[in-house]
């Protein structure tokens, strides 16, 4: 591990990489602060830039920096405006906004920054410990197990979608898988489902899909509902200091939530949102009677808990990405797509084949968190001014950046029409409350899923591999259970309610 750390330090501490981390964090904070723009949209917009860098470590470091920055920026807008840019920071606004209203905006921001820093840093330490162990286990996997593992991942994403939404999330995953079969596959030299269009020969572009699914609907929503970007009075931000008693109060919260958040983040499909809500709920339940009353009215513990948890979860979500090559969230799915575009295959072999990528990402997590703490915190009063950009300027530029991102990826104007078409479709899907992240995850995993499936079929000359490899069978049963059990439980719960004369 020490050797790995040294490799990481060597790569990550070059001037270029430091520039990437700092630049990524600043860009992320900057855009993440805009209400309504989540980390997924921002990363989607940044991907063309990252891919043209050509260097996978640099690209991943840049995107990871943008990711932390966006989460940090998102909590800033939650606290100052009660307008969370990201679902993961909704819980931050429960206590952060009341604090800001009570004139303690500066203190709230400091606590958020310290909590994020600790959550991210402790998460990175845990990542460093667990990722190598997991990837050495994963090296024993064959393509049959990989196939089964991806099915488990996709099943878990659907199952964590929440009760009443399992079918929708499953359908979106399937739609993503279907979209991934368009174009020429790796194992078969024949175009499929292109409808005779040359532009679909190489399949849907992942950048276009990411833009169309995340960035465009957000922008259209901003147009549809001006209240979404309501610009409250951010007021004066002063007095960033916290005193010793407060530090003592939040320290145990940060410790607990870093660990809890990290492990929730590792689970596919759970991610920062669930981690932050769960962290908030847990801390409220174990707080003393007197402190419990403060929750929701500006409790510093209630602010520190979700902030720590969501940053730790962000780090945790890198574990399945880096060790198994299976993204657990929409954001890591986008990162995986970027890595594949750069010819890097994340998975258990990443640590042995290209250790510099793995370790430099980990080192960059420490640096990124440090940058957020010492660079962004003092700058916040100034960065917050971006919240005053009029939406008449903001929205055209967001739309333009999505168009540009998809155009420079392909250099093809038809791509733009596909982008707009998919974007409108994605907006309608969001109206109907369909979750969109499963679609992108399905799309990105689709090709790998099919390749591994076909490879095992060829090796075992048929579908027998499912029965002959106990681990594959076990994983597939687990996947089926993940999808079926929650819906059965919901059904039973409902029936019980009906009997009670509801």
């Amino acid at each position: 591990m020490l050797e790995g750390l040294l490799i990481g330090l060597q790569t990550a501490l070059s001037l270029k990489m430091l520039g990437m981390v700092i630049g990524g964090c600043l860009i992320g904070t900057f855009i993440g602060m805009l209400p309504g723009l989540g980390p997924m949209s921002i990363i989607a917009i940044m991907i063309p830039v990252a891919i043209t860098l050509g260097d996978p470590s640099a690209a991943l470091i840049l995107l990871a920096g943008v990711y932390y920055g966006a989460i940090f920026g998102g909590s800033t807008s939650s606290i100052l405006l009660n307008a969370p840019g990201v679902a993961g920071t909704v819980a931050t606004s429960f206590d952060g906004y009341p604090m800001a209203r009570a004139g303690q905006a500066g203190k709230a921001l400091t606590i958020a920054a310290i909590a994020s820093f600790s959550g991210g840093t402790i998460g990175a330490v845990l990542l460093m410990i667990f990722a190598p162990a997991l990837s050495s286990v994963a090296l024993l996997f064959h393509s049959a197990e990989y196939f089964a593992l991806m099915v488990v991942g996709l099943g878990a994403i659907a199952a964590f979608a929440g009760s009443g939404n399992v079918a929708k999330a499953t359908l979106m995953t399937l739609l993503g898988l279907i979209m991934a079969t368009v174009g020429e596959g790796a194992l078969f030299n024949m175009p499929r489902f292109t409808m005779g269009l040359m532009d679909l020969q190489s399949g849907f572009s992942f950048i276009t899909l990411a833009m169309a699914i995340f960035a465009l609907p957000e922008a259209i929503f901003l147009v549809l509902n001006p209240m979404r970007s309501s610009q409250g009075d951010s007021g004066k931000i002063e007095n960033l200091r916290i005193n010793r008693d407060e530090a003592r109060a939040i320290a145990p919260v940060i410790g607990r939530q870093s660990i809890q958040g990290f492990f929730i983040g590792v689970l596919p499909g759970a991610g920062a949102t669930i981690a932050s809500f769960l962290g908030y709920a847990v801390e409220r339940n174990i707080a003393s009677e007197k402190e419990q009353k403060e929750f929701g009215h500006g409790s510093i513990k209630g602010l520190a808990a979700p902030e720590t948890a969501n940053n730790a979860a962000c780090t945790g979500s890198f574990v399945p990405l880096l060790t198994l090559g299976i993204p657990g969230s929409g954001t890591t799915a986008i990162l995986l797509g970027a890595l594949i575009a750069l010819n890097v295959n994340p998975g258990p072999r990443l640590m042995t084949d290209e250790p510099q990528i793995f370790w430099s990402v980990i080192i960059s997590m420490y640096i990124g968190n440090l940058v957020l703490l010492i660079l962004n915190l003092p700058l916040i009063p100034y960065i917050a001014k971006i919240l005053a950009i009029p939406r008449n300027y903001l929205i055209p530029f967001i739309l333009f950046f999505t168009l540009m991102g998809s155009y420079i990826g392909q250099n093809n104007a038809t791509e733009l029409l596909i982008l707009v078409g998919l974007g409108v479709f994605a907006t309608v899907l969001r109206f109907a409350n369909y979750p969109l992240a499963p679609l992108l995850i399905g799309f990105i995993l689709g090709r790998m899923l099919e390749d591994n499936f076909s490879r095992s079929m060829q090796l075992y000359d048929g579908i027998n591999f499912i029965l002959e490899r106990p681990m594959t069978l076990g994983l597939l049963i687990l996947a089926a259970a993940l999808i079926i059990v929650p819906s059965l439980r919901a059904r039973r719960a409902r029936r019980a309610k009906v009997i009670q004369g509801d």
Partner: protein, 163 residues
Amino acid sequence: MALDRWIALIILVISIVYGYAAYFTMDQLLPPFMQRNPVWPSTFPKILSVLAIVTSLIILLGLEKPAADAKEPDIDYRRLGDYNIGQAALLVAMMVVYALTLRPLGFFIATIGFLTLSAAILGERKFHILIPITTVAAFVIWYLVEQVLGIFLRPLPTFMIGG
């Protein structure tokens, strides 16, 4: 019928068409030597189409009831009239126009036009501020993409560069 079930219907139709293509049109094209393989290009799509048809039927027939404490969607489509639907439609149209004019008109005219008109659609009227900003932005972005990222963007209209 609620919007989510309409969407399930649309996806159902898509997956039936997709399944039809996978089951009945793909295998004839397969060369004989590949037919000895246990897995064909159409194998995976066949499985997917069946799963997608079943799942969309589950939603369409309402077999899975939404949870009682279902959270509000981000935006309520039943109140669509209250939202700026006209502006959104115009902006989408602007994006289509941009896609169609980017090549013939060149990057500068298309981009400045897109940014200015979109802002105007959103209600911006201070053109003496708006146009300089969009012009500068277009040049800066063109410089970054062309020079820093090294991706060619045709800057001028087709007729001015003779082709």
